[in-house]
């Protein structure tokens, strides 16, 4: 097939697609496994591909089909979206490229210059985009939300979500729910006040905002001493999930500020380190569950909530499962927010366990101190922002787990707008041999089904497929495929750059591909037919 003919075919497919990516299609994403329509592949946060052309019998023959390199040394953490033959790949710092998936060639590019006084604590990253109708939505580090024409990259609207000079930024992928585009924000190390926003897809007009920190007098406002909530952070920097049946958006919140000195913010500090269930239409809080009340270790609960239906004590339940950065695995009822069960899933030394309501029973003297306090898990947690995966075929939840601790230090905390507001610091434990693993869990109990050991703690997520595979990657630079039912390694590839992303899968012309960012490149893999 000639290139020109392929391009014509691609464009033909694109013409068919434009204007047709309705929210109804996203809600039924598993019906079109050739596409990857939303950050986690579906609304339930499963990061599961129903494709099975690549499977246990042939994954050993997986090869690189094409690669795409970014012109930045910042970490490449984006999950691409694939709609009908076009990939929308976000790049650091806040760039976006539309790529023809047949050839790997760019169709259009959006490049945004960043102001010199940008404040981002942890790297100039972008973790993905959302698509609805003929629009692609991109959050930027200077805290704007953009709607771009999916065919040309032209900007249709550009709204200022917050003032970047105060430490706000947008790093996560937006989420489309019906006629709204929902975005979180980052900036939890800058004493900002967190929120979750919804904007009208067509106009960019803000439909609602939920502040993640209640003010004095509001419900939960009493969980902050004095007016300490004003700089209490609770950012929302990882994309949430959505259940069309409950019409609730499930979204995690980050650490309270200042991170490591809790003296100035006595109380539980709602809604930091929570999962929030928010009505998608009104933006009203339906329920919340706080994993780490009065957190002093920077254990953001910003991860993808995984929505699973399973039997608990013989009864079918609608669950939300959350392997938390604090090293506990939580199972909640996603209709009511009721705590069902929870237990450690990695080494931890800060809590004796969880009480009947799911609240941690703390071990004394585990708070940061001037001389340093050694605690597991580390400041980066037992897992972090990167994605877990749930396979409805095996019924297992797959998580990339980090096994390490930190020394936590308490320091002075003085707020100054736009500057870091940390109140301490951390360092690694001298001589500790950190490690990691991919673990498969029973999502209803947190029981481990199998483990695949990694030499160092991972910084990248996993994806499972109907080919009975789990794809993952290492912080040392390899991509691998495991048997989803046993954890046996079936294939691996030396990619030569630290993994910092989440895999996806899609198909074109009947051929399945797996795509994952490694180092400063995107690798697209397939099996020769």
């Amino acid at each position: 097939m000639s290139i020109s003919k392929m391009t014509a075919l691609t464009l033909g497919t694109m013409l068919l697609a434009f204007g047709q990516l309705t929210p109804e299609r996203i809600a039924k994403a598993s019906a079109e496994p050739q596409n990857w329509l939303t950050y986690s592949g579906n609304y339930a946060g499963h990061r599961f591909s129903p494709l099975k052309q690549i499977n246990e019998s042939n994954v050993g023959k997986l090869k690189v089909e094409w690669s795409y390199q970014v012109n930045s040394l910042q970490r490449f953490e984006g999950t691409p979206i694939v709609v009908d033959g076009v990939m929308y790949a976000s790049e650091p710092p806040s760039n976006l490229t539309a790529i023809d998936v047949r050839t790997g060639r760019p169709i259009w590019k959006y490049r945004r210059s960043m102001p010199s006084d940008l404040r981002v604590c942890c790297g100039q990253v972008n973790r993905g985009v959302a698509v609805s109708g003929n629009l692609v939505f991109l959050g930027t580090l200077d805290a704007h939300l953009l709607a771009l024409n999916a065919k040309t990259g032209a900007i249709l609207w550009d709204v200022t979500v917050a003032n970047y000079k105060d430490g706000y930024s947008l790093t996560g992928a937006p989420l489309i729910v019906k006629d709204k585009v929902i975005t979180g924000m980052a900036g939890g190390e800058y004493g900002v006040r967190g929120f979750l926003d919804a904007y009208d897809v067509a106009t960019g007009k803000r439909a609602w905002r939920f502040w993640t920190i209640p003010m004095p007098g509001e419900p939960g406002g009493q969980t902050w001493a004095g007016d300490s909530g004003k700089t209490g952070a609770a950012a929302t920097w990882v994309t949430g999930s959505y259940d069309p049946d409950t019409n609730l958006v499930y979204w995690g919140t980050g650490n309270p500020g200042p991170d490591w000195n809790g003296d100035v913010r006595a109380g539980d500090n709602l809604y930091s380190d929570c999962i929030l269930a928010i009505d998608a239409d009104s933006g009203k809080l339906e329920w919340h569950f706080q994993f780490t009340p009065h957190d002093v270790h920077d254990w953001d609960s910003t991860a993808v909530p995984v929505l699973v239906n399973a039997n608990v004590a013989g009864q079918p339940r609608k669950l939300v499962v959350f392997p938390n950065r604090n090293a506990f695995f939580y199972v909640l009822d996603r209709v009511t927010g009721q705590f069902i069960t929870g237990k450690p899933y990695a080494k931890q030394t800060w809590a004796k366990g969880l009480d009947d309501s799911g609240r941690p029973v703390r071990v004394p003297a585990t708070s940061p101190s001037v001389e340093g306090t050694q605690v597991w898990p580390s400041v980066s947690g037992a897992s972090n922002w990167y994605s877990p995966s749930f396979s409805p075929e095996t019924g297992f939840l797959y998580v990339a787990v980090r096994e390490s601790g930190s020394q936590y230090f308490k320091g002075e905390a003085e707020y100054k707008a736009g500057e870091q507001f940390n109140g301490g610091g951390f360092r690694s434990i001298p001589g500790e041999q950190m490690w990691g693993a991919i673990r498969a869990f029973d999502p209803a109990t947190g029981n481990v089904k199998w483990e695949y050991k990694l030499f160092t703690p991972p910084w990248s997520g996993v994806m499972s497929t109907a080919g009975n595979l789990v794809f993952g990657s290492t912080a040392e630079g390899q991509i691998f495929a495991l048997s989803a039912s046993t954890g046996k390694e079936l294939w691996r590839f030396e990619a030569g750059g630290q993994a910092r992303g989440n895999p996806i899968s899609y198909a074109v012309d009947g051929k399945q591909f797996v795509a994952v960012t490694m180092g400063n490149a995107l690798y697209v893999l397939s099996v020769a037919q």
């Binding site: 930045s72 040394l73 910042q74 210059s113 102001p115 010199s116 006084d117 940008l118 404040r119 981002v120 604590c121 942890c122 790297g123 000079k165 190390e189 991170d259 490591w260 001037v370 340093g372 230090f409 320091g411 002075e412 905390a413 003085e414 100054k416 736009g418 500057e419 870091q420 507001f421 940390n422 109140g423 301490g424 610091g425 951390f426 360092r427 690694s428 001298p430 001589g431 041999q433 050991k453 990694l454 030499f455 160092t456 290492t474 040392e476 630079g477 390899q478 691996r492």
Partner: protein, 251 residues
């Protein structure tokens, strides 16, 4: 283009000092710098500058900041394409942070009391240092080169390393391994990942193994570096420290 022009303009609007030497480095300035550092820098660089996510600042020489003004600019404007951000503080506050950061490199600077000429004789003679370490092109290759060790490590660290070498042995660890076929090997670990390990043996030969082909792999927390606490007198150790401290690279 407009954005780039504005960016350029914004940099010009900042009143960048022209003095190369820190004008705010009195003990009172250092104390204020310590407080600002604790709030703004310790999160990444560690409370004592000895590194976390950020660079180790507890070093007598900072590679990106050979002079005070460069250090000022690094703090004010950040380091492009790294995680070091810009800091919108007053010029004086930045000088005060810089003054405190300069003290971090001196924290374990116990005074250098030894005689470097005597130290050189010990290092090249009965100490046997050059059996395993290269200095200015001469010496063994088993251990790390020492040609610029005075730039990278303070005297306190060097003294500890001579008397208690296992205390901070990251980097030059010994491994002992046996393949499934029964071949045994010991050496310095050059790289290790989930799947493979690369080892340099005492004869300076490189070996590479897939971990799947190994029957046993054992990491030793002790380094090959012997302790000189018994072999040398306190005065002799001071002399060697004085010698190492003035090794500052190929001039």
């Amino acid at each position: 283009m407009l954005a780039w022009a504005l960016l350029f303009h914004a940099q010009i609007l900042v009143d960048v000092p022209t003095t190369a030497k820190n004008p705010h480095s009195s003990p009172a300035d250092v104390e204020l710098g310590r407080k600002i550092y604790g709030a703004r820098c310790a999160g990444c660089h560690g409370p004592m500058g000895d590194g976390g996510k950020g660079t180790n600042l507890a070093s007598p020489v900072l590679p990106r900041s050979p002079d005070d003004l460069t250090l000022w600019k690094v703090i004010r404007f950040g380091v492009p394409e790294t995680e070091m951000p810009s800091h919108n503080l007053t010029n004086k506050e930045i000088w005060q942070i810089a003054a405190f950061v300069r003290t971090l490199g001196k924290l374990d600077t116990a005074p250098v009391t030894g005689d470097s000429q005597r130290g050189e004789a010990i290092a090249k003679g009965k100490g046997g240092c050059l059996g395993c370490h290269i200095v200015l092109g001469k010496g063994g290759e088993l251990g790390p080169a020492l040609t610029d060790i005075g730039l990278r490590r303070g005297p306190g660290y060097l003294r500890r390393k001579l008397t208690d070498p296992d205390r901070d042995s990251a980097g030059f660890l010994q491994v002992h391994l046996t393949t499934k076929e029964g071949t045994a090997l010991s050496g310095i670990r050059m790289n290790e990942d989930t799947y493979s390990i690369q080892v340099r043996d005492r004869g300076n030969r490189l070996h590479s193994f897939w971990k799947a082909d190994l029957k046993e792999l054992r990491l030793e927390q002790k380094t090959l570096m012997p302790s000189y606490g018994q072999q040398l007198t306190a005065q002799e150790i001071d002399d060697v420290v004085a010698y190492l401290t003035q090794l500052r690279g190929i001039q």
